[in-house]
């Protein structure tokens, strides 16, 4: 009797050890693994949310066409938050609690990502954020949350340094939005101004949603600024460049990556020719960008192909890193293993940005930046050598 009991206990214990964790882990069946995402898919910020989700879809379709993750097909669950913070929280809770996602991607804008952080931390779900890299997301480092990208501050410092070296002794102008993004741009700019003792002759601030920049640009012209940092996002930068064209002035202009999308150049027309931009993803006009578009063609619909922009690349890279980490966990991936493998991510090539690495206590990939310049003739951004 004792022998039988011992054998039964051993069998039970081995069953628990072998099959237990995999069975207990949510979002995984024998044939499927669920990856969740919350993005702004409606309203003006949909331009970034839809593009990022297309990037996730491309990476997932690519993995699924290669047989999935160790034989399991990836199911992608996407929720719209409309860029409303309360709905980002609810969307994340739905994806985790109702759809039982195994891992998360994306996570909407910067304010939304910050607000949803307690939900992600409490649940412990492995998450790779790719849309809005802000310091709060990785400082302090959270065990289960990883961020692919580069900080806004570093981006703006890189751009201003480059423009300052190319245009020594010139007069500078800056305009920023009256929100978190604008403050970050201004802080980055100010740090270079101090270090390089730049001569700033115009410093403006506009209200989010402002459409008319005629008086701001007139002031910029009157100030005699020769190098101009346009701190708008999309519509604002277009309006500023059009206004400068009307005033017949063409300062050396720099823009930041949230506005570095190809349709902007079409709307700017000749006024956008030659503007500088900074980014950590490859431009579509480069070899890597072209290769990415070719890869995307058979994997997404015609409509989705039209929605591709730089955020598609950030989404693609994040999804690739997450899928690779889950894959390395073998047949029975768990949250603990996925988090550990994400931490072990070392120089993962995605083809759309510099290799991605994390490390023990390092949850931010700190991507390499590059400067690019707009070419109005081909409506593209080209890398500056």
């Amino acid at each position: 009797m004792k022998k039988y009991l011992t054998t039964a206990s051993l069998l039970f214990a081995s069953a628990l050890l072998v099959g237990g964790p995999a069975l207990a882990q949510q979002g995984i069946t024998d044939t499927e693994i669920v990856i969740g995402d919350v993005e702004p898919l409606t309203g003006p910020p949909a331009l970034l949310g839809v593009a990022a989700s297309i990037g996730h879809k491309i990476a997932i379709a690519e993995a699924n066409s290669a047989g999935g993750i160790n034989g399991r097909k990836i199911k992608y669950v996407l929720e719209d938050d409309g860029y409303v913070t309360a709905r980002t929280i609810q969307g994340a809770k739905k994806v985790i609690e109702v759809d039982k996602a195994f891992a998360m991607l994306g996570m909407s804008g910067s304010g939304q990502s910050i607000a949803v952080m307690p939900v992600l931390e409490k649940s412990g779900i492995p998450t790779v954020i790719d849309v809005a890299p802000v310091k709060f997301l990785w400082e302090p480092a959270r065990k289960n949350v990883f961020v692919v990208g580069q900080s806004y501050e570093e981006g703006i410092i890189h751009l201003v340094n480059y423009l300052a070296e190319k245009n020594p002794g010139k007069k500078w102008g800056l305009i920023t939005q009256d929100d978190d993004y604008g403050i970050t741009v201004r802080d980055g700019f100010d740090s270079v101004v101090k270090a390089k003792k730049l001569n700033v002759v115009y410093s403006g601030n506009y209200k989010k949603g402002q459409q008319d920049f005629s008086s701001d640009m007139l002031q910029l012209k009157d100030s005699g600024a020769e190098v101009f940092l346009a701190g708008g996002i999309i519509a604002e930068n277009i309006a500023m460049m059009k206004e400068l064209e009307k005033l017949n002035v063409k300062p050396v202009t720099g823009i930041f990556w949230p506005g570095r999308i190809e349709p902007v150049l079409k709307l700017m027309g000749p006024a956008g020719d030659g503007i500088y931009a900074v980014d950590y993803v490859e431009p579509f006009a480069g070899e890597a960008g072209k290769a990415f578009l070719e890869k995307a063609k058979p994997l997404v619909s015609e409509a989705e192909l039209k929605g591709i922009n730089r955020y598609t690349m950030t989404g693609y890279a994040a999804a690739k890193v997450l899928i690779a980490a889950i894959e390395r966990c073998g047949k029975r991936p768990t949250w603990a293993c996925t988090i550990s493998e994400l931490e072990n991510t070392k120089n993962v090539e995605t083809g759309v940005m510099a290799p991605i690495s994390f490390g023990p206590g390092v949850r931010f990939s700190n991507q390499k930046l590059q400067i690019m310049q707009a070419d109005a003739a081909t409506l593209s951004f080209k890398p500056v050598k």
């Binding site: 898919l41 309203g43 913070t85 609810q90 809770k93 607000a115 929100d179």
Partner: protein, 348 residues
């Protein structure tokens, strides 16, 4: 035979509820809400929490718009001021959460005096535009007062711990919201049946007649603004804690419109209507999604990826339908059902 629902004493007229079964049903509803966190997952529970927070805010608006007849399009201004009042006191100056809640009420109440003053001369559309302007001005003030509010960077807010009780878990936080919602409901019901409440209603129905009766219009209109803003501010604090991060972006103008939609759908001037309207408006998109998902998985996906556009359409549709077919709102519908039940088979 019973021929009607007559109030025969003054006590009956000012009673909180008019029959014992109402107490019973209310107790059952509260008990269900207390055990809800044990029966619901985090997603479903988030709806309960949002409903409770919204009930507090819309009860606040109901005092101003429902009882007193003063239309406010800028109540989100009081909501955001309340959230900042709490966040600044508790997160920045490490004060006790109860002091934070007090601040969350007092700061918007003071702000309401500024917007309330023009209401002494303005009515209707003019007042609505004034309150709308206030909500934009308050956002600019918050963004500019960086030393106090962190400007556009916002303030992270932790879940509170009050007298050793932690409200960190979703369950505990829902109970906190439930407690505040019950207190607010009792407060507004009591205001309505008091001398002050009757003065508010008199102003709403005919302010000239109210003045002739000796009601001080200036004092009572301002009191309505202050009371409404105080309650809305408390709701703002709860909303800020729920978001865990208070920033101007977290309080879009759409919240003001949603609150007005709740009052219209629920029934203007009724506390019960406010509660019913909140439940309907908050749950409508999710309920619609559930119904459609029974027919097709594609419809479910459509609600997930186009949720916000569909929500806006649903809200619009519901408001139009209620204004056309049931202008007294859900509470009017409830009264009709109750009357039919009592008088059946007679029509009246």
């Amino acid at each position: 035979m019973r021929t009607g629902d007559y109030k025969q004493t003054y006590g009956e007229l000012v009673a909180l509820v008019d029959s014992p079964p109402v107490w019973l049903w209310s107790a059952v509803a509260v008990a269900a809400l207390i055990v809800a966190p044990y029966a619901l997952n985090a997603y479903a529970l988030s709806f309960v929490t949002i409903i409770l927070i919204t009930v507090v805010g819309t009860l606040g608006l109901n005092i101003l718009t429902g009882y007193t007849g003063l239309i406010s399009l800028g109540h989100v201004g009081f909501l955001v001021t309340g959230a900042y009042g709490y966040a600044v006191l508790v997160s920045k100056y490490q004060m006790h959460p109860l002091v934070g809640f007090l601040g969350a009420g007092v700061v918007p109440a003071i702000a309401s005096l500024i917007v309330g003053a023009p209401s002494l001369r303005l009515k209707g559309l003019y007042l609505a535009i004034t309150t709308l302007a206030f909500s934009f001005i308050i956002n600019t003030v918050i963004l500019e007062a960086r030393t106090l509010t962190n400007g556009a960077r916002g303030i992270p807010v932790q879940r509170p711990e009050i007298f050793g009780i932690s409200f960190d878990s979703d369950t505990a936080f829902t109970w906190l919201c439930l407690g505040v919602a019950i207190l607010t409901l009792f407060a507004t019901l009591n205001i309505r049946r008091s001398r002050v409440g009757r003065a508010f209603v008199a102003i709403r129905d005919n302010d000239t007649a109210a003045r002739v009766m000796g009601i001080n219009l200036h004092a009572y209109k301002l009191l309505a603004f202050v009371t409404s803003a105080f309650i809305t501010g408390i709701s703002g604090a709860l909303y800020g804690i729920y978001l865990s991060f208070v920033s101007v972006e977290g309080f879009p103008f759409l919240l003001s419109i949603e609150a007005l939609a709740i009052l219209i759908v629920g029934g203007l001037g009724s506390a019960l209507g406010t509660v019913l309207g909140t439940v309907l408006i908050v749950l409508l998109p999710e309920a619609t999604r559930l119904v459609f998902s029974l027919f097709s998985a594609q419809m479910d996906a459509l609600f997930s990826t186009g949720a916000q556009e569909l929500k806006s359409m649903l809200y619009g549709l519901v408001i139009i339908l209620f204004l056309r077919f049931q202008p007294r709102g859900l509470v009017g519908l409830w009264h009709d059902i109750r009357r039919t039940w009592v008088h059946w088979p007679l029509r009246y």
